[in-house]
Subunit: 136 residues, 3 copies
């Protein structure tokens, strides 16, 4: 059986945000066993899984990715939409647009320290749309 | 229900290519609701989702990834297959070998600005094989 | 039909390890056509697909990722769990926590040169847990 829904997240500031509890508000009752797939319909944001406990991890993510993909490199040609735009596209492909996670005993079966990150790469992020597909 | 098919893409030059319309030629009629999974059977190419409109984004992808994973680093030991080979393997794991995308109302449900990229990392790319699995 | 199982891998040293044959020991008979999903429940290890033949590729992976995400950057704030900890989190999101791979003719349908990598980013990796979901 397959179920699908669309979630419009609130707008988040640039950075990395654990959104498990926000997503949970939108989700229907989950099946006993299955997979849940999250797909973000944008090319300057991403979904990823990482540490859910210490906010310093999310701060360091912002710093490290900014060092890895700096703004304002002289070789960028796609620059009309702002200095944060082209780096946002690259980060989006490096971290990924989608996640598939197992459902076990009616719950999303993340590890104890795992959370779902919304990665917002734009200085002024808009409300991001996520398509959720549940398969059982 | 599950359907599976194999696609042999034409050979592409090194770079990032939006292949939505090429893939569409090979795909059967899609179900109303489901997931479609694309898997590339190679370790020096990748599949990713990014901006579908401005070719300068794809040009910048080539530049940025080449700066990130340069050829000819003195510490590479896997060098027999050419200077572009080891960087190609790394890029392939960073961008990923596979994509799962929702199907909604009989269509691949990408965001307005999203396209499917074939990322060809070799100077002389061969014809790449993709396994498509459709689940509904 | 969906099947799910949990695998506890042996502990691996820091580095990149082809684990196809280890995984195969745990897997049930596979369906004729389907998808298999591997999910690692940790934030300092990853699953990826890459070259299965030449161990020098895996050695170079270790080197390249260490150059890309160095330890001991002065701007890291999440440092209490060791110099290898924050880089491990970043690498985990760059390489990814999960893989979906087609099943064709009762087998995991990887390309000829592809293998499944367990990427262990900690100096002292523990036994990693993987949730496997098979859909047909």
């Amino acid at each position: 059986m397959i179920q699908q829904l669309e979630i419009q997240l609130p707008a988040y500031p640039r950075g990395y945000h654990v959104i498990d509890s926000v997503l949970a508000e939108y989700l229907p009752e989950l099946p006993k066993t299955g997979l849940i797939h999250f797909f973000i319909q944008h090319t300057s944001a991403a979904l990823s899984i990482n540490e859910n406990a210490d906010p310093s991890v999310r701060d360091d993510f912002e710093e490290v990715l900014n060092h890895l993909i700096p703004e304002n490199e002289e070789y960028y040609t796609h620059v009309l939409e702002g200095l944060d735009d082209m780096p946002a596209h690259i980060k989006s492909s490096l971290l990924g647009s989608e996640l598939t996670i197992p459902i076990t005993n009616y719950k999303i079966n993340l590890g104890m320290w795992q959370g779902i990150y919304l990665c917002e790469f734009r200085n002024r992020g808009s409300r991001r749309k996520i398509i959720v597909t549940i398969y059982s």
